[in-house]
């Protein structure tokens, strides 16, 4: 999975599963804040990272999960990881 839209769908799907919400792609923007716009707190975000790591078969270090505030920042971290996997 490398297409950005697919990645968006994956992130939203995981958020929806954990938060029991119903965010759809057309209702969110890349610059949406995890907290203020999506209601995800830092603890819930760790669960979301965990699920994304499982689903995409990647490992994101805890240090890389800090200071990530928006959806696009989450996606950027994931894309970098997937690029590394693809290049290997």
């Amino acid at each position: 999975m490398s297409h950005r839209e697919d990645m968006f769908d994956a992130v939203l799907d995981v958020i929806n599963n954990i938060k029991k919400t119903g965010f759809t792609r057309d209702a969110v923007e890349p610059d949406f804040y995890l907290g203020g716009d999506l209601g995800v707190d830092s603890k819930e975000m760790l669960e979301i990272w965990y699920e994304l790591e499982q689903r995409l078969n990647i490992r994101v270090q805890d240090a890389e999960k800090r200071d990530v505030y928006t959806l696009i920042e989450v996606i950027t971290v994931l894309e970098k990881k997937l690029d590394v996997v693809a290049a290997a």
């Binding site: 610059d31 804040y33 907290g35 203020g36 707190d41 830092s42 760790l46 669960e47 805890d62």
Partner: protein, 423 residues
């Protein structure tokens, strides 16, 4: 424990989770790492401590107490508390909403409010409750809070409890903070109130943010500001009034929260602000309304500590002299520190995980200090957190520094040591 292990632990059935957590705890205690040590006697710069699994108390030099001014065991404070017990008894007998509010509470609240040039204040049993109090009393799901990413766990819990929408910001990046406020205002439907909180003296390293600029930005966007000054009261500012006095910003934040359990040396906490804002807290905040009022000896202890801070500001200067002296000695010895303005000195070591071993060895050698590890601080920024007291002598500071240097050397953790050895 990294976040993956944490999530996996949390997903286990309760009994399995409990068994795993308890066995990890026992292992920590057995290895002497567990910081749940037991002290004996008054809180002071020298105390007796023992491990949980030991029967023997040992003398330690304490560089891990928040009683920065040494007021927890001050003769004047103790005398005033004894007098108050004779006069007013002990418990408050109820919550402030019912019978537990007395003239003694009111007089102390007025006095605490003046420390920030505010009109009124509410007293609470602890810092955790004080943070719950202002979030819960001021906000609801129709408002927005933008909080310092270093905020105490109680602020985050209060946000969850109150259901107020939340954004996080990095106080080191105020340009981004301003952009965030702009964005919130642009996208808000209708007239929405934004609240924002920031730490005065940062609990993890004792440094102070660019508070003046933060306040200016907040004023420009009509944001209600709340300063968490738990570590600032009694440790910074010429007369110990805290971060606002230190930066010449008295009266410039809407609310100031601080505790009475650190430099004040007692217990409890307070939130001060305008009479209108404090009216809201006093009448609508559940954590204030439905908790018993502070006991009389505690009120007397806080008042007496304020007497001392007012009449002997040289104690604060002595604390600063001690901090500077210790910072200089640590740096001369090649230790990596942050030179903050308060009573906290963080000491960093290069290798991951070594700080807990160093701290255990220090404790065995008679030095009590605290450490901060992930997730309290970012990975790789684990630290020994030294808390200096105004009452420490130069000899005690020299002893502490020697012990830290000697122990760090033993673990090959002195700055540049690893490189030297591998050269």
């Amino acid at each position: 424990m990294d976040s993956r292990a944490l999530i996996e632990l949390e997903r286990q059935p309760f009994k399995q989770r409990l068994a795993q957590q308890y066995s990890a705890y026992l292992k920590e205690v057995e290895q002497g790492f567990m910081s749940g040590r037991e002290g004996f006697g008054p809180v002071d710069r020298r105390m007796k401590y023992k491990d949980l699994n030991s029967d023997t108390f040992h003398d330690t030099l304490v560089f891990g107490s928040n009683s920065y001014l040494g007021l927890s065991n001050d003769p004047y404070v103790k005398r005033k508390v004894t007098e108050a017990v004779e006069k007013y008894g002990i418990g408050s007998g109820g919550s402030p909403a019912f019978s537990g509010y007395t003239k003694q509470h009111k007089d102390l609240e007025k006095r605490l409010a003046k420390l920030a040039d505010h009109e009124d204040a509410v007293l609470l049993p602890g810092g955790y409750m004080a943070n719950l109090c202002w979030v819960n009393g001021l906000m609801n799901r129709n408002d927005i809070i933008v909080y310092d990413k270093n905020s105490h766990a109680s602020v985050i819990n209060a946000i969850k409890m109150t259901n107020v929408p939340f954004y996080t910001f990095d106080p080191e990046k105020l340009d981004e903070f301003e952009k965030l406020l702009q964005r919130i205002k642009q996208r808000a439907k209708g007239d929405i109130q934004i609240f924002s909180t920031v730490e005065g003296v940062r609990s993890i390293d004792g440094s102070i943010i660019e508070l003046k600029r933060y306040i200016e930005i907040c004023k420009a966007y009509d944001v209600v500001t709340i300063l968490d000054d738990a570590h600032g009261l009694g440790t910074v500012g010429k007369t110990g009034r805290g971060t606002l006095e230190y930066l010449d910003l008295l009266g410039q934040v809407d609310l100031r929260m601080s505790t009475c359990s650190k430099a004040i040396g007692a217990q409890g906490a307070f939130v001060s602000g305008s009479k209108e804002l404090i009216f809201l807290l006093r009448n609508f905040s559940y954590p204030y309304l439905f908790t018993s009022g502070l006991a009389q000896p505690t009120i007397a202890a806080i008042s007496a500590a304020l007497d001392i801070i007012e009449s002997e500001p040289e104690r604060i200067e002595k604390l600063h002299q001690n901090v500077r002296y210790m910072q200089d000695r640590l740096e001369e010895a090649g230790l990596r520190i942050i030179r903050g303005q308060s009573g906290i000195i963080p000491v960093f070591f290069d290798e991951d995980g070594v700080v807990r071993k160093i701290n255990r060895a220090l404790y065995k050698r008679g030095l009590f200090a605290n450490i901060m590890e992930y997730p309290m601080v970012p990975p790789g920024l684990e630290r020994l957190r030294l808390s200096v007291m105004a009452t420490h002598t130069r000899e005690e500071i020299d002893t502490a520094v020697s012990l830290i240097v000697e122990t760090a050397q033993e673990f090959g953790a002195l700055q540049g040591q690893a490189n030297l050895e591998s050269a």
